[in-house]
Structure formats: structure tokens, C-alpha cells
């Protein structure tokens, strides 16, 4: 500790950087790398999407009709606008326009909140209709009796396995245990969702009732495997929604610091980096929207 660097450093320059330029560039490179990891994170889901869409195009054709294009479209517009206000906020930070910065950030935050609000409405609708991933998929929907999922069937099968042991003679004549599997058979998909299985096929009366209640009436026969679509839908939009929430947290923090007056024309890196992150979140939605809502 021969040197005390603090006295000749600008206040926001960390001790291990030599110049503000170096600090700013480091931050930028770091953020870009982080964005790359985020894209790869979503990349895995896009891969899963691609593989399943390639293998089961009919599932995607059928199931996407349940998604509300209008809501999705509004959300897209909201996010694009919020990206614009974010960019504007960054510009204001650079020009030391504090009012513009605060307004831009506040509008961006509002956009994020609006997006999540609409998402909530969409999710609530899906959950109400039983359009859920995997074993929870149950479009018949409303009476608890029909919510028997494969999971329950599995539990029953496990109970049955115990029954097998109880019921079957356990030993051979010379006392050796008999050769018999106690493992239950794996159920083949959510109960009642196989093609030709009568349980959940909507009766005409029920369908009318549904239509009257404003529910979506998809065209075509329900193919096997619709639960994959909703699995992928919820995973992709869920992970994206989580990122929107994280982005809103970041923007809230930037807003707080802007109100406190932390930023000036020499120090606006956090706003710039937060903006990059928000644009990424926006960009991912730009891909998600057509891939999920506008296919077929």
C-alpha cells in the first residue's frame, strides 16, 4: 500500500482501473458477454422448440390456436415502446438531461409492468382452461373429477404394485422368492388424452357452453402431445417473464439512482448497461411472439 490512488481518481473510478475509459469498456464487454450467455440460455429452449416443432408440426398447428394473438400483439408493441423509452433514457443520461432520464426510465418501468400485467391475464386464462404443461394439461377443465392426471395414475400404479406383492403367492415350494416385477407399468401419457379415449373429448353441448363463455374454439382434431406445446410455451414465456421482472428491478434501481442524481455525462455506464439488458429482453420476445403465437 505504498500508493493511495484515491486522490487522483474520479469518484466513480474503481481503484483497479487506470482510466474511466478502461472501466467503461470493461463494463461494456462484461455486459455483452453476459448477454451472450443469456442468449445461449434461451438457445437451449429454442432448440427444444425446433426439435419438437419439427417432429410434431400438427401439435404446434393445433395448440397455438389457444394463444391470444391480440394480447400477444399488444405486449409486443408495449415492449418495443419500452425499448424506445429506454434508448431515450440512455441518450438523456449521456446529455445530462436528468428529467428526461427519469421520465424515460419511469416509462420503461411502466412498459415492463404493463407487459407483466397482460401476461398475467393470459396466464390466468390458460390456467383456468387447464391449458397447462405436461401432466397438468387438462382442457376438459372445470370439474375436479376430470383432473385425474397421469401423476395420479402413477401413484395408483405404485399402490397396485404393493397390492401385487400382497396378492400373489410370495414363495415357491422350496422357499425361494418368486420371480416377479413389483414395478408398476409406466402410464402412457396423461390419463384420458390418448386419441380415441372418450373421457375428455368435449361433447357438443359442452363445446357450446365453452364458446358462450368466450373460450377459444380450436379447429381440427386434437392431436396427441398438446401438452408439449404448453410445456414449451410456459417455459419460454415464463423464463422470459422472469427476465422482464429482473430487468424491471434493474430499471427501478437505475431510476432510484437517477433521482438521487448519481449520473452525469462522465458516468452513465450503469444506465447504458441496463439499457443493453432491457433491449435483449425485448429482442427475445420479438422472437418468441411469432414462434409461439403466429405459426400455422
Amino acid at each position: 500500500m505504498a500508493h493511495d490512488h484515491a486522490h487522483d481518481h474520479p469518484p466513480h473510478l474503481a481503484h483497479h482501473f487506470d482510466t474511466p475509459q478502461q472501466q467503461f469498456e470493461s463494463g461494456k464487454l462484461g455486459m455483452w458477454l453476459f448477454l451472450a450467455t443469456e442468449i445461449l440460455l434461451f438457445g437451449g429452449l429454442f432448440c427444444a422448440y425446433a426439435v419438437y416443432r419439427y417432429m410434431y408440426p400438427e401439435v404446434f398447428d393445433y395448440a397455438h390456436q389457444y394463444l391470444d394473438k391480440v394480447m400477444g400483439g399488444i405486449n409486443t408493441v408495449v415492449l418495443i415502446c419500452s425499448s424506445f423509452t429506454m434508448a431515450w433514457a440512455v441518450r438523456c443520461a449521456q446529455t445530462e438531461n436528468r428529467k428526461g432520464l427519469i421520465l424515460g426510465l419511469a416509462l420503461t418501468l411502466l412498459g415492463g409492468a404493463g407487459f407483466m400485467g397482460i401476461k398475467y391475464v393470459e396466464y390466468a386464462h390458460k390456467i383456468h382452461d387447464g391449458l397447462l404443461p405436461g401432466t397438468y394439461y387438462d382442457p376438459g377443465g372445470h370439474d375436479p373429477e376430470s383432473l385425474k392426471s397421469a401423476r395420479e395414475a402413477k401413484l395408483k400404479a405404485a399402490a397396485a404394485a404393493v397390492a401385487t406383492e400382497a396378492a400373489a403367492p410370495q414363495k415357491t415350494a422350496d422357499g425361494k422368492p418368486i420371480e416377479q416385477s413389483t414395478i408398476a407399468a409406466a402410464p402412457r401419457g396423461p390419463k384420458g388424452l390418448r386419441k380415441g379415449d372418450g373421457i375428455h373429448t368435449e361433447t357438443p353441448e359442452k363445446a357450446d357452453e365453452h364458446a358462450a363463455a368466450g373460450h377459444v374454439q380450436p379447429h381440427g382434431e386434437r392431436p396427441e402431445g398438446v401438452w408439449w406445446f404448453f410445456g414449451i410455451y410456459f417455459l419460454m414465456t415464463g423464463l422470459h417473464g422472469f427476465h422482464v421482472l429482473a430487468g424491471m428491478g434493474v430499471i427501478g434501481w437505475l431510476l432510484y439512482r437517477s433521482i438521487k442524481g448519481h449520473f452525469n455525462k462522465d458516468y452513465f455506464a450503469p444506465v447504458d448497461l441496463g439499457g443493453l439488458y432491457w433491449h435483449l429482453v425485448d429482442l427475445i420476445w420479438i422472437y418468441l411472439f411469432p414462434l409461439l403465437y403466429l405459426i400455422g
Binding site: A153, K156, A157, A159, A160, A161, A163, T164, A167, A168, P169, T172, A173, D174, I178, E179, Q180, S181, I183, A184, A185, A186, P187, R188, G196, D197, G198
Partner: protein
């Protein structure tokens, strides 16, 4: 006693067990082993070269602290090019050799004798063309045999070291291995994909029969089928006593237990639970002696032996209300003796 040439891996087809590899008991093993020994000797050469240089340099150039190195050369193009190019050539040879060998292993010849192989926690079931289901693999020698492999639950993997074959059993998919066994005998058959508690006990034997004896084995493989009528009558009367008296009926159990094993082996369990609940077909609990109502409106007060037998052999004759009659017929796969055992098993489910 191992000969020197055996140690080198230079032997004719059907070579013996060496330090590194088990006995060759199939045609394909020969090619795999040659490839292995090629890599092996290349590796031994480089290993000795590197180790000798390593030890030699460490001794020869060991100097007291503070000494200066004799040379500070940092490049030598000839050397660097040669130690890049020579290994490259060697690995290209290895790749081509391995790939061509793999194509032989992966593509079975036409007209293989095909045995359906199913992995389940934690045993193997082999279904022969005549419908016999066994937990041990029996194959004829000098015949192209193909195992068509799948799994009922999680991943398993077929591995017969003596034949140098392996492939995963994947649920919802068929994979295969093929081989031509050249030496009658008994060989290890392992599961090599981790599958839970008894993974290590999911092992069985592969018995290679001389070609002309295999059919005889297959005909007599099922103890129930093998019995004469008199023997069967005796077995029906007092199974425990019969099994005690006739230890050569391998795998024979009392009828109800035998039925339970059949329930398992013939895949009944994928549609029928042992409770009274529906899976795809009706649950088996209380099926014997229970009342039945059919899709054509008729009813049956008490399901008896005749009804059950008909349901197994001609499932579509009477379809119980609420079911779609998607059950396949077991005509030709199960004999009346088998059905007797199954019904005894069902009687126990109350």
C-alpha cells in the same frame, strides 16, 4: 497358458481371453479386437517413448539450484511438424478402422434370427419368434442373431462382452445389436446403463447352443408346455409336491405364481392394474367372479373360467362397457395350460 502371439493380440478368429479382452465368442469380436490391439500397441509405443524421455531428461538434466540451462531453444520446425503429422496419420487410420468396424456391428445381415429383447427394472425379457418368453438369452451357434431392443421404463443397455456388442435400451424406441456366436457355451449378459437400485443385478446369461440343438431347447424351454398331460394333471393336483419331485422342470412355480410371472412377461401389466382401477383395460382385482356388463347390453353375473379364457383368446367377443376393446388376442401365444395358471393368479386377487 497364454502364448506370446496371443499377448500381441495376433490370433485367428475365436481367440482366447487375454489380459485385456475376454474370450472371442462371435465373428465380430475378431475385428473389434484387432482394432483394439492396433491402438494398444501404438499407445504402448508412445507411452514408453514419453516415459523414457521423461525419466531420462529428469535425471540427465537435473542440476543444482541456480544452474543455467544448456540450451534455450524454443523452436524446431522439423521436430514440431513431425510430431504433429505422425500422430495425425495414426489417428486417421484409427478413425477409419473404427468406423468400418462399427458399420459392420451396426448393420445386421438380412434374414437374422430375431429375438425381441425388453429391459425393465431389473430384468431382461427375451421373446422368441414362437412366442416363448424367457429371462435368459438362448441363441443358436453359427447363426446371425439380432436382438431387437427396447425398454419398458428407464434406459438400460445390452452388453455381451464375449461378443463385443452393446446398445442402449430406450423406452419408446427400438435399437438393435447383432452377432454370430461361434462357440457354444455360457456368457455374461450385463445391463450397462445405470437404471437404479438393482442395476448391478440386472445381469443374466447368454447360452449359445450348438445349431442343431437350439430348436429342441426352444420347444422344451417352457416347462408348462413341456409337460405331458399326465404330468400336468399331477401338477394341477399338487404343484408343490410335483415341483419337488421334478427338479428338471426349470423355472416351474405353483400355478398362481406362474400366472403372476406370465402377467409380467406377457405385458398384461401395461394395461391392467392389480387393483380394481382402470388403466387401459379393467383392473384385475375382483375380476374373477365379478359381475360384467357389456357394450351390446348383455350382462354376466359372475365372470368364470370360460369367460376369462375367451377374453384372453378372443378379446373382441365381449367388450365390457366403458372400454374400447383394444386388447390384442393371445391366441397362439398362450396355451390353455398357461391360461389355467393366469386364472389361478386372478382368483387370488380379491
Amino acid at each position: 497358458m497364454m502364448r506370446f502371439t496371443d499377448m500381441l493380440g495376433v490370433f485367428a478368429q475365436g481367440g482366447p481371453k487375454t489380459l485385456w479382452l475376454p474370450e472371442q465368442a462371435s465373428e465380430g469380436a475378431y475385428n473389434v479386437d484387432n482394432a483394439f490391439y492396433f491402438v494398444y500397441w501404438v499407445s504402448v509405443f508412445f507411452f514408453i517413448l514419453i516415459t523414457v524421455l521423461l525419466v531420462w531428461f529428469a535425471i540427465k538434466y537435473r542440476k543444482p539450484k541456480g544452474s543455467q540451462p544448456e540450451s534455450t531453444v524454443t523452436h524446431n520446425t522439423t521436430l514440431e511438424v513431425s510430431w504433429s503429422v505422425i500422430p495425425t496419420i495414426l489417428v486417421v487410420i484409427m478413425f477409419l478402422w473404427g468406423f468400418s468396424g462399427f458399420m459392420d456391428l451396426a448393420n445386421p445381415p438380412e434374414n437374422c434370427y430375431t429375438i425381441q429383447t425388453t429391459g425393465q427394472k431389473w430384468k431382461w425379457l427375451f421373446t422368441y419368434p414362437n412366442g416363448h418368453v424367457d429371462t435368459e438369452l438362448h441363441v443358436p451357434a453359427d447363426t446371425d442373431v439380432k436382438l431387437l431392443i427396447t425398454s419398458e421404463d428407464v434406459l438400460h443397455s445390452v452388453f455381451i462382452p464375449a461378443f463385443r456388442v452393446k446398445n442402449d435400451a430406450v423406452p419408446g424406441r427400438f435399437t438393435h445389436v447383432w452377432f454370430n456366436a461361434i462357440k457354444p457355451g455360457t456368457y455374461d449378459f450385463f445391463c450397462t446403463e445405470y437404471c437404479g437400485t438393482d442395476h448391478s443385478r440386472m445381469i443374466t446369461k447368454c447360452v449359445v447352443h450348438p445349431k442343431d440343438e437350439f430348436e429342441t431347447w426352444l420347444e422344451n424351454a417352457d416347462p408348462i408346455k413341456r409337460m405331458t398331460d399326465e404330468q400336468f394333471a399331477e401338477y394341477e393336483k399338487d404343484p408343490v409336491e410335483f415341483i419337488k419331485k421334478n427338479p428338471d422342470f426349470k423355472g416351474l412355480l405353483p400355478p398362481a405364481a406362474m400366472g403372476g410371472a406370465l402377467y409380467d412377461k406377457f405385458g398384461c401389466k401395461s394395461c391392467h392394474l392389480l387393483t380394481d382401477e382402470k388403466l387401459i383395460g379393467p383392473g384385475f382385482k375382483g375380476v374373477y367372479g365379478g359381475a360384467r356388463k357389456f357394450t351390446d347390453g348383455s350382462t354376466l353375473d359372475k365372470a368364470d373360467e370360460n369367460y376369462l379364457r375367451e377374453s384372453i383368446l378372443v378379446p373382441q367377443a365381449k367388450i365390457v362397457e366403458g372400454y374400447d376393446g383394444s386388447m390384442p388376442s393371445f391366441q397362439g401365444r398362450l396355451t390353455d395350460r398357461h391360461i389355467y395358471c393366469i386364472i389361478e393368479f386372478l382368483k387370488g386377487l380379491k
